[in-house]
Amino acid sequence: MSHVSDRDEARLVAIAEELRAFIAIDLGRHGVSFISIDDDLFGSGVLDSMGVVEVMSFCEARYQFTFDLSAIGEETFSSLRRLAGCVASATSHT
């Protein structure tokens, strides 16, 4: 069990780091480099409304899935970990 969990955690962290790189480089929000994977993306000033749209578009293009827009809530973008978890969950069949 723990072996599978470790693998899942590693994938989640890998996705989170890709998201971090996108937010820092493409969105120019370099502050993301200094927050932890669990820090609040809004509270830390890393994301704003257009940032959400950009990150969403990036995720869909990079990981080949479509967000259920009605299901995207505050918690989805609350941290890199939560966002990566959504991506991992949406793409778990691949």
Partner: protein
């Protein structure tokens, strides 16, 4: 729930192609992205997925999730300036107003017409009398002024029907001009129709200090909305809240919540809910509501919508 005094519905057939492309250029520019044929086409595709709502259902669902009660829906007529949309101005008004009329009061339609159209007055009259329009939207970003006789004529029609008038003020997209969308002209317009309610759309964006500086000249029938302020001050929430609080101090009970949806919230409850919460805190217990009984704005004092 708080009322949104400035929103829209979006479907490509209601907006000229030139406007759609300008909207995308504006979006890319705000993000500091390269603007070229490819990026415009790609962004238009992804924005359309978020923005389109041809029957109002998506909008109302977003409002429900974001804690928004009633939304005043503005109809925009850019046809004279930018070339006609796929739908005629009559179709745009009748279709959008019909959607609003079927929304059980959640969406309240404001008709929109360029006063330069030869049939502008007749169209406003028909929209208010027959199609369920409750107000008039002006967008003085073409080659006409708010004090132009043709504009005064359509405002007269609205005033005769007791319908409020909301005008876009301040910055706009690159193919339109903000030259005539000035707070000073709007103040003068409101003074000429003292029995009619007027709403300064977006508070003029960055021009809002004009109203504070010249507060003595602002008549009591002039109200304000903060739709589109989501990205003012680079999206800095503290600066936005401070500015709203300043306006509220000078014009207590006359500063309304607004979104300019879906253009800043992208029909996403997450984004609209955050903006709603910020404005609710900033207005300090004096809210502006849409009164369904007489189709007017009114102030509600002391209520907390989301304790």
């Amino acid at each position: 729930m708080i009322d949104d005094v400035h929103g829209n519905l979006y479907a490509p057939r209601w907006y000229p192609n030139e406007f759609q492309r300008a909207m995308v250029r504006d979006y890319l520019g705000r993000r500091g992205k390269p603007v070229n044929q490819v990026s415009i086409a790609e962004a238009l595709c992804s924005l359309n997925r978020l923005l389109i709502d041809q029957d109002g259902r998506r909008t109302v669902a977003t409002m429900d999730a974001a804690g928004i009660g009633t939304r005043l829906v503005m109809i925009l007529d850019f046809g004279v300036e930018l070339g006609e949309a796929e739908a005629s101005v009559e179709q745009i008004n009748s279709e959008v107003l019909e959607i609003c009329a079927r929304s059980s009061g959640r969406l309240v339609g404001f008709c929109g017409v360029d006063p330069r159209r030869p049939n502008a007055c007749a169209l406003v009259r028909q929209a208010l009398r027959d199609w369920g329009g409750k107000g008039l939207k002006l967008h003085p970003t073409g080659d006409w002024s708010l004090l132009d006789e043709r504009c005064l004529a359509v405002v007269s029609v609205a005033a005769d029907h007791g319908a409020p008038v909301l005008s876009h003020l301040g910055k706009t997209v690159d193919i339109l001009s903000d030259r005539s969308a000035s707070p000073s002209d709007f103040v003068e317009l409101a003074r000429r129709f003292p029995s009619c309610q007027f709403v300064a759309g977006h508070c003029g964006f960055g021009l809002w200090p004009f109203f504070v500086e010249y507060a003595d000249s602002v008549p009591s029938n002039l109200w304000f909305d903060v739709g589109g302020w989501q990205e003012l001050y680079g999206g800095n929430a503290v600066a936005q809240a401070t500015a709203i609080a300043q306006l509220c101090e000078v014009f207590p009970g006359r500063v309304a919540f607004g979104t300019d949806a879906p253009f800043y919230g992208f029909n996403m409850p997450l984004i609209e809910g955050r903006w709603r919460a910020l404005v609710e805190r900033a207005v300090g217990g004096r809210y502006v509501e849409w009164d369904r009984s007489d189709c007017k704005l009114r102030t509600r004092i002391g209520a907390t919508y989301h304790p």
